[in-house]
């Protein structure tokens, strides 16, 4: 099957958003494979949710119905490595969806399973770019306390070493480090970023604000930092990105998106509105571990379950409940700084897209410097 060029697909999403017609399958898909997790993070209670996870056989029926449309697939959890068959799920994503980028956030807790499965995952994803994002919320014991997992920081170091070794034979692997910025660490982001870069030597370092999400059962948690503190933190991260541009094309794309995302997320927190149109429900989607389809994980509202629709993702996606969700998002009834959805939102906003493109080429930094010089 010939894939529609991404630019044509993006134009289609804009048309669908404007008219309510010409709907397409999502280009950005998150597949959460389990809620189970050994970590007890201060910023996440997802581990409390218990559901009947989709099996590999069920994924083998669902993924072909996505018709190879998703370009960016994130495989999240819980802790995906709790599943002994996680490598099989990843293999199916590669063979049945063929995305350009497969993104796996990792907490590095179950090291034995990670050491067992990651080489297989590396081999089975050849043809896509495999982004492995290690969660690092603090340095040393402070990280273990935030993540609620003993010796976690030391284990993450072991996993980072393994990924560096895998990169020697699998050139499609990108190592990322990811920090959740919460009230617990916002004052130390400068040090965390600097030390994490030195310790883990990632291709890219990114951060996302801790927010109240239905998926994570954090609606009532007081974890989101004050906007002024967050602004200060992301200003530092933007400077750090500009100072450490990665030569790796995928890492550079992620950095270019992040440069814009940090500003966007701060504005959303400040203004509590959709600063640019959100395309969750059009261009981005999430498949929950029990087969429910969501427009996004912040609202985590099911628009149907693939188990009740013959494992046909499209049957749920193009149904009435999904239309109602889309209408609600289009009416700006919600606003959030979710990074994953923001990526596609940035690509679908012409002004933001131009800035991202400028960031990719380095022209963005020149422009920034010129502005600062002028000021």
């Amino acid at each position: 099957m010939t894939k529609l060029p991404l630019v044509a697909r993006l134009a289609g999403y804009r048309a669908a958003h404007a008219t309510g017609r010409f709907k397409q399958l999502p280009v950005n898909l998150t597949v959460s494979v389990t809620y189970s997790c050994p970590s007890r993070c201060a910023t996440c209670d997802i581990w409390q949710k218990k559901v009947d996870d989709l099996s590999v056989d069920e994924y083998a029926r669902i993924f072909p119905t996505l018709k190879k449309v998703p370009v960016w697939v994130t495989l999240s959890g819980g802790d995906q490595f709790i599943r002994a068959d996680f490598d099989e799920v990843v293999r199916l994503v590669r063979t049945e969806i063929e995305p350009s980028i497969i993104n796996i956030p990792m907490n590095g807790v179950i090291t034995e399973r990670i050491f067992q499965l990651l080489p297989k995952i590396a081999h089975n994803t050849v043809g896509s770019q495999l982004v492995l994002n290690l969660s690092v919320d603090e340095i040393g014991l402070a990280h273990d306390r935030i993540r609620g997992a003993e010796r976690n920081f030391e284990k993450v170091k072991l996993v980072a070493d393994l990924i560096h070794d895998l990169k020697k034979t699998y050139a499609h692997i990108v190592l990322g480090v990811h920090t959740v910025i919460s009230k617990l660490n916002v004052e130390r982001i400068q040090d965390i970023e600097r030390e994490a870069r030195a310790i883990f030597r990632p291709d890219s370092y990114i951060a996302e604000v801790a927010e109240n999400r239905v998926e994570l059962k954090t609606i009532d948690k007081d974890i989101t930092p004050a906007v002024s503190d967050y602004r200060r933190a992301v200003a530092h991260l933007q400077n750090a990105i500009r100072a450490h541009r990665s030569p790796h094309p995928v890492a550079r794309l992620v950095e270019s998106l992040r440069l814009e995302y940090y500003d966007l997320s701060a504005r959303i927190l400040e203004e509590k509105r959709q600063v640019i149109d959100c395309y969750a429900g059009w261009a981005s989607a999430q498949l929950a571990p029990d087969g429910h389809v969501w427009g996004c994980c912040v609202r985590a509202e099911s628009v149907g379950n693939v188990r009740e629709h013959g494992y046909d993702f499209g049957a749920v996606w193009f149904g009435g409940a999904a239309d109602a969700f889309r209408e609600s998002v289009r009416a700006h009834e919600c606003a959030c700084p979710l990074a994953n959805a923001s990526y596609t939102n940035l690509l679908l906003d012409p002004k933001s897209l131009a800035k991202v493109a400028a960031n990719m080429t380095g022209a963005g930094a020149l422009f920034e410097r010129a502005l600062r010089g002028h000021a």
Binding site: F115, A122, D165, L166, K168, T169, A171
Partner: protein
């Protein structure tokens, strides 16, 4: 690059790996191992008090064990190349070192086909942990270019991930595979992988 310089580079690489991992015995299993037995590699190893052996993996009865098992000039694509590597991994107590023709080398079209790096990696990651992947024998001007780019290396061995110019110009590449798992679970897994 002359054959002599290439062989010297490979020998220095093997010697450095032996020193780094503290090996006391080396088993050479590749093609022309016997002719190499009295050569520069053996002299280097003997000078360090390392016992060196030679064996043909096609012989019945299996290979003798050694801390470091070296597989030169292999594998070539054909029936049994994967099993041949696994047999050598079983014989190594610490390290399996595989030296193969670089399939990306622009001048390397002659001779029998070799597996691509991904194919080799799949087998090597099954039998242990690939600690190093190095390109050997890149021309001096390519090495000079790499040094200008700030890369540091020795023994003519440039570690992966390497630039396009290195990958296209190096006639050989080598893999250093740690076959000494440190936990009972990992040992069990390795047993499963090679069983």
């Amino acid at each position: 690059m002359s054959e002599e310089r290439r062989e010297r580079g490979v020998c220095l690489f093997v010697d450095r790996v032996g020193v780094q991992y503290g090996v006391q015995s080396v088993l050479d299993t590749g093609a022309e191992a016997s002719s190499r037995a009295g050569g520069s590699l053996s002299r280097l190893l003997a000078a360090r008090g390392v016992r060196s052996m030679v064996a043909d993996p096609r012989n019945e009865g299996g290979l003798p064990e050694a801390d470091l098992v070296v597989a030169f000039d292999v594998p070539e694509v054909g029936a049994g190349w994967e099993e041949s590597l696994v047999a050598r991994a079983r014989a190594s107590r610490k390290i399996l070192l595989v030296v193969a023709r670089n399939p990306e080398h622009l001048g390397g079209l002659q001779g029998s086909p070799v597996p691509d790096t991904i194919g080799l990696a799949r087998v090597l990651w099954r039998v242990g942990r690939v600690r190093e992947h190095a390109y050997l024998g890149a021309p001096r001007w390519v090495q000079a270019l790499e040094r200008v780019r700030g890369r540091r290396f020795s023994e003519d061995a440039i570690q992966a991930p390497a630039s396009m110019s290195v990958r296209l110009s190096a006639p050989l590449h080598a893999f250093v595979v740690d076959t000494a798992p440190r936990t009972p679970q990992a040992r069990r897994r390795l047993g499963l992988a090679v069983g």
